[in-house]
Symmetry: C2
Subunit: 600 residues, 2 copies
């Protein structure tokens, strides 16, 4: 198999059969598109990803970015790939036609992200971060700011970054120290250090537009004192072109376990007192602006993890189908030919587990993406609100469930290859290292769990939770009477009742103010609700596969049968874990609160 392990059939299933993305074309915003234009985009992406992204994924890992004569040096294939990506118009895929984009639904743009991520997660991060930064500017910048910066970003001439963390503050952004002094000329003088800045410095683009969280002098402590600033690497001159260097120093590169193609920097702003930035949005609204984009960023991380999980699955499946070794348990003749290892029960288990976890996570992330589209085109305020609530509660699970269980899938992928999986001659060990980032960045999974149970579940008297439960119930009611579907519907219903009971009980603990106790096992809660939600995704996939089988396309029968098997696997192996998790949560086990760090 080539370095590019991607299964188009799966993308078509997820986007066309399960989510029916063409339905968005009924809306005027997407009326210029239809399935054919979507598919043409996917075709083009697939070709480009195979030819210019997958070709250097191993080399970008082996030869990570380094500083040469003060500049970040990347292997040349990175720029070639990104230039081709820009040339082909993918940077503008989710932007409007009048912005120079192709105005695709968000879900379709995530389909494109899937393809490029499968090919080379490190290289595609540069355009992805730029697209996210441009999106942030579009949402919160002034008309003048947008006019000066957006076109060059969407055209891929200038790249973008997000500068949130500092060396002493990652999860606790309220403590950040980066300062902004008004210059009296309408802009600000920035000073401070920013840590973990992906794509923070490089020579891939004419300029880099940093979006920086900082505290205006005199602003209150905590999150309320944080504002958002646009800080270009090179200030714009009178013609609006990159001019003088803006006193942003590259203080060092982080040497990561994986994801090495993406340079990750420590940046010092204003070492010489001459770093200028513009306020974006209102003072004190910095975190609100950032969080507005956070749902999409977290869907991005979840999808990234799900794609790496699926890519690892396809690589290990390919290996298992071609590697002869051992015999079936009943075979006693040592002279008989060995079978392919995909015939062994435990190897099949490792493959099915990867399939169940990764395709479950893919369905979850893309379902979340489809809610972004539905919300954007809905004209009913009440429906928009309900869609927003559903997206809010799903987001921490999309990010944390997919990254936790996606990495577990990669564990089994590597294991399938045995000793070969442990070598750098096969892609599994690199994918496993790359994917290890996803439980950490964009808010660690522990933070996601607190966000889920401490905010999203209890917000509005549990409105989002009720909405989610109603959606699951509706799917159960819709699913037909085929024996397998009936098994799934029944198991999902029981699990759902269990989850509701536990959620109500935890909700009342939190409502009576026992916050520390109620949140002590928040991670277990996220695992539980996430597994229920992915079980729901598997019911949806099984139903869709049954419909496909009933449609009688014999060429696809194996594909659909595989979906049904993976659904069954998820329900028999993964879903039953909910019982133990619920029991632990019900017991309000406070072991972690009781222990002192001196006892550890």
């Amino acid at each position: 198999m080539s370095a590019f392990a991607f299964r188009r059939r799966e993308l078509d299933f997820q986007l066309h059969e399960l989510l029916a993305v063409s339905r968005f074309c009924a809306h005027p915003r997407y009326a210029m598109h239809d399935r054919a234009t979507f598919d043409a985009s996917f075709d083009a992406a697939e070709t480009l990803a195979a030819e210019t992204f997958a070709n250097h994924v191993a080399r970008a890992d082996a030869e990570e970015p380094r500083i040469v004569e003060g500049k970040v040096r990347l292997i040349p294939e990175v720029k070639a790939a990104i230039d081709a990506y820009i040339q082909a118009g993918f940077m503008g895929s989710a932007f409007d036609l009048d912005e120079g984009g192709s105005q695709l639904p968000y879900t379709v743009s995530q389909g494109l992200a899937w393809i490029f991520t499968a090919a080379n997660v490190g290289t595609v991060a540069y355009p992805f971060l730029t697209m996210a930064a441009a999106n942030l500017l579009r949402a919160h910048g002034s008309p003048a700011q947008k006019q000066r910066f957006l076109p060059a970003m969407i055209a891929g001439r200038w790249f973008g970054t997000m500068c949130l963390s500092e060396p002493h503050a990652g999860s606790s952004l309220g403590d950040l120290r980066c300062r902004a002094e008004p210059t009296g000329e309408g802009d600000y003088r920035l000073s401070g250090s920013k840590m973990w800045i992906s794509a923070g410095e490089h020579e891939l683009s004419e300029n880099i537009i940093h979006f920086v969280l900082a505290r205006i002098s005199g602003a209150p402590a905590g999150t309320r004192g944080i504002s958002l600033f646009l800080v270009p690497r090179y200030r714009l001159d009178a013609q609006g072109q990159p001019g003088v260097h803006n006193d942003i120093a590259l203080a060092g590169l982080n040497h990561k376990m994986g994801y090495r193609g993406t340079t990750n920097c420590l940046l010092n702003f204003g070492e010489r007192g001459d770093c200028r930035g513009e306020l974006v949005g209102a003072p004190g609204q910095g975190l609100a602006c950032m969080f507005h984009m956070m749902n999409e960023a977290r869907i991005g991380v979840g999808l990234n993890a799900a794609v790496l999980a699926h890519t690892g699955y396809l690589h290990s499946l390919d290996y298992a189908r071609q590697r002869p070794q051992g015999r079936r348990p009943g075979e006693r003749d040592p002279a008989s030919p060995p079978v392919m290892i995909s015939e062994h029960a435990d190897v099949r288990r490792m493959l099915l587990q990867q399939k169940a976890l990764s395709e479950g996570a893919l369905a979850l992330c893309l379902y979340g993406a489809s809610l972004v589209d539905e919300q954007a085109i809905s004209r009913e305020p009440a429906e928009r609100e309900a869609l927003g609530q559903e997206l809010e509660i799903l987001t921490p699970m999309i990010k944390a469930w997919s990254s936790h269980y996606g990495l577990e899938a990669n564990y089994w992928g590597l294991q399938t290859l045995g000793g070969y999986g442990y070598t750098r001659d096969y892609p599994l060990e690199r994918i496993y290292r790359d994917n290890r980032l996803n439980p950490i960045h964009e808010g660690t999974n522990g933070i996601q769990a607190l966000d889920l149970l401490g905010r999203k579940v209890v917000a509005g008297q549990g409105a989002a939770f009720r909405r989610l439960m109603a959606r699951i119930e509706a799917s159960r009611a819709e699913a037909g009477g085929e024996p397998l579907l009936a098994e799934l519907v029944d198991a999902l219903g029981q699990a759902q009742q269990r989850v509701i009971r536990t959620t109500l009980s935890l909700g009342s603990v939190l409502a009576r103010g026992e916050v520390e106790r109620g949140l002590a096992n928040a991670w277990v809660y996220l695992q539980m609700l996430g597994t229920l939600t992915v079980a729901w995704m598997w019911l949806r996939q099984a139903r869709c596969a049954q419909a496909g089988l009933a449609g009688g396309a014999t060429a696809d029968a194996d594909y659909y049968q595989g979906k049904l098997l993976a659904a069954r696997f998820f329900y028999r192996w993964e879903l039953p874990q909910i019982e133990r998790q619920a029991a632990l949560l019900d017991s309000l086990d406070d072991t972690v609160l009781h222990c002192r760090s001196t006892q550890l």
Copy 2:
């Protein structure tokens, strides 16, 4: 914290309090030792490990072995460390006095292994492999062979390797192709390739003694046709010194994800038709000879995984106690100082989970080691047989449970450090990569599961299983009435009944010949029985800690309280997983048998 994360208090607890290793000194074989001589060995090992092993663990990872002018080049610190190790007499720790060793109990030698493994897993592998090879020779070599080879190996002048796998055959040794032709001069001409040979080639020692599995011409197919050969890198001359090169070519080095300090080679034997080897043991007995040593090798892998898990735990604990960030849930004042992250519930959970998994695995592996000693010194044939059975059934769990859950511990260790954990500036990401090997080598965990359920559990009408259950029951009966112990005893009893029921049911499926179905979910069985067994280990540790607390040593109160908390954590978080595993096994779920590889 230095690169050397090791807690002597834990070693003293495991070896002295829990296993009371000094009791072995009552036996004449160990009468020259007492606790003081054991402790003096541990002291010396600790100093040596800190000074000459931990100092290059990061560099050995960054600058992995490479071939320069046809020779394997290692960083110089490796030889310096191993020379000091040999000088200090550690190579002979488990060998007899009259062999030049110090005749320590096996369990004590494992305590030494713990110390060096915590310091540098890659460097210490060279002497460990040599000790294992010498042990193999001692068990199966002829008196003349032992006389010619053993003293130089125990003295550390000649190193050793095990050559089992071939590029096409790892798990399926019956298919190996390496050939041995009788020369007519009493020895054999070897030809073939051997893969994954740790320490297969280097310049650390005057000679390398390879123990090679090969097939004598005309031998039957399968495992019965395999014999064991001693094949030196340099043939011995008339004076018994290394002479001419023995036609063993270094065909390449494997580039691994971790464990990089240990060179791992592809060796070609007899490319020029001039590689000579001596038969060790009887023809056709090669695999039996190797398997005789396998229990100890697998205890070694399990302990390695447990130590890496514990080392990662200590590093992450150190970080969590020193890293200020965030506030307790009730604290609303953003100007209040941040707390150390070890105060946060989910960080404590990550620390406790590491402690529960790693110290549970340490206890399991060292208990297994103590059975080796008990068996060696027992004079009762019936007791020796029972001890042997217990060791047989424990071995696959020692290897596979410790490596699977030890890696999970490292996952949480890395996660505790957030972004920093993902960088190469902190040891967690290296430990995580190093430990990823352990579920793979010395028989993959999937193979261990088949060995456990398909052989060890059912052998002798379940004699070993019954012995293990009786031992657990005895511990339950001995544990006193303190509330926590009572909770553990009760939970362990229920879990044990569940496991027995499921085992009987699976046993009857296997007994009626449904081998494929009965073994389909063997991995889940290993997880279940392993978790029960480690829960037993935690009951033993809790009881010991209670006794320590009752002893009133206030300086140790925190340490013992920590043990009780970790025991409680294991029983509330890990042990309840057995229910789901048992239910899955009871259902004889055959999803993995039903699927075809074309459906995946």
